[in-house]
Subunit: 406 residues, 2 copies
Amino acid sequence: MALIVQKFGGTSVGSIERIQAVADKVIKSRKQGHQIVVVVSAMSGETDRLLGLSGEISSQVSKRELDVLLSTGEQVTIALLSMALEAKGCAAESFTGGQVCILTDSVHSKARIMEIDAQRVSKALEDEKVVVVAGFQGIDADGNITTLGRGGSDTTAVALAAALEAQECHIYTDVDGVYTADPRIVNMARRIDRIAYEEMLEMASLGSKVLQIRSVEFASKYNVSLRVLSSFEEGPGTLITTEDKSMEQVLISGIAHNRDEAKLTIRGVPDTPGIASRILGPIAKANIEVDMIIQNIGDDKSTNFTFTVHRGDYKRGLEVLQGISEELGADGVSGDDNIVKISVVGVGMRSHAGIASQMFEALATEGINIQMISTSEIKISVVVDEKYLELGVRTLHSTFGLDKGN
Amino acid sequence: MALIVQKFGGTSVGSIERIQAVADKVIKSRKQGHQIVVVVSAMSGETDRLLGLSGEISSQVSKRELDVLLSTGEQVTIALLSMALEAKGCAAESFTGGQVCILTDSVHSKARIMEIDAQRVSKALEDEKVVVVAGFQGIDADGNITTLGRGGSDTTAVALAAALEAQECHIYTDVDGVYTADPRIVNMARRIDRIAYEEMLEMASLGSKVLQIRSVEFASKYNVSLRVLSSFEEGPGTLITTEDKSMEQVLISGIAHNRDEAKLTIRGVPDTPGIASRILGPIAKANIEVDMIIQNIGDDKSTNFTFTVHRGDYKRGLEVLQGISEELGADGVSGDDNIVKISVVGVGMRSHAGIASQMFEALATEGINIQMISTSEIKISVVVDEKYLELGVRTLHSTFGLDKGN
């Protein structure tokens, strides 16, 4: 018998029929002898309906009240799922974020969980009940309702799993696991059985949108084993857990990519201390997030400075950079929003040399020009022209032995 | 400056437009220098929508979870109204029943308020905020969400007014006050300026559905002055308060009626002690509520026993009574579901004799036959054939000097 936290997102509970299916799934786990805590999101469409109502009042509503409004979405789901469980003869009890004391800070609409007092949940589990908890929400120290922001239900699930010392935290999604690459691009992509937290973080931040980054960070911090599963089909899914020996044997876990990038360059800026912050300061002030940053070595007195931003921020970034260029007396700015980022990720990299050169060689063989390079301990990313995306990902997937049947 | 509790029902907050109108009304009171606590119901239609969802799951859902589900209705309204107030520049803060510690018993779906800890509300009022509270809901001692049942928002408002020692509790409805009779029947009906709690209770129980009986009882118990006002037009409304000298001068306050009645008679039952309970016991067991009860004096050995029930219970009542009749060896049963009850209500009755004879005489003059009579200290009710309803009410309205312009 194990204690398992199961999280179902908005699509999985999007209709009464689907809520009934979730109830069946929960009962199946219960019958295997497990104690079950279920975390649910608002029914898909409900949050938008509520936002529509508040939007009719004003485009700038009080964030405190928006949290009061939106938190009703999950409250509806916990009640309906508990009803469905009880109607099927499975004792269940629902709790709002406040009722299970999910204590957060007071930053409405993107609060962070500070503490969970899991007593009430433990009590209900002892009473042989399935515990159904509203995701995405908590209360602050003054008892105000808060919400955790997008993807917050995953974080609720992981936080509860940590507080309850659950054996595993199951995240049900519309895919059946984490893949070695996007199966829409690489038809030879394989589902990964086990992946380390750091790898998953790199994959997530690079565009594999199976899990919210915050929930993976949280799981890593509190050592909660996460399993990504499909809401709609049976299967073992992908286990996200601490790195182990067997993982080190695997060189590369997956090939990630991100289409959503654009590149900005400022040429001929004086190569003096503090120049990076004089460039990136105004960019940050304009609320533009910067991803990769590369400063090329130039001649004696000047240098070129390149960085990537979200594609949606490209035009605004170019304008801001134009201003900076004039101010600094640089040679000019240029940019390109037809680029993508491709990365190889794997904790095996730590103990194996030569991954980078193997990667660059494979790309060169296919005639793919590399525009930028950035590396971390367990990841190598390159920026290439958008037209090479599919070819690049497939080439690397095959090069590192990830294709199905290998 | 006074502290006023204002309650707006589902129709008054049935759309964003109406919520904006309520916000304007609240701000107007605020600008007159009053401290305002607003109690709101779910937007009209919302409770039915939620009941529809739970009905899709099962016809017999857990009452605890139904309360979790339905309580979201008011939570949506408090958030939207607070947003509307803030958008109009009026500081406001919303609270669920649990957040303002409306402590109830644990009888889900018809919980009773045990205690209110008004500290949080007082604090927000001190901070110069309008306090917006979800009606109809509370929490029990274990922190479970409860609802107060139909009309519960009125009770929430009165209970808060009592706890806060508010000067008045304003109940906004779709009518502009309590009338001397139903204006749809008596076009000479007048709005009553002041009415005593007991009179209002009699009027309410007799079918004047302006206020829920429970909220009037509560107001009477805690001496809260209630004012019934229109959500849609300006006006002083009707003040419901303790009886005072000026009220005693008024003989009759109003003429109430109830169409929803049916009459059942069991004839020739043995006139022995305990006979009433042998008849009414099985009726109560069948969950049929009995209103008026009359036992006529019969001959030496037997008597006729008549009572009225809700018209919807008529057929079932007749069946149950048939069984009782056979068991007791009575002469038989009969019934009539074409009857109505008409009542004259007034605290002035206490100090004035002859009201009853005046009433019966007026009805006789119009040829209206009285089938049953029942009296209390401040009310006389008669049962008559349904066809006499309008004539009877108008006649008595005029007889007791209630017509407009008098």
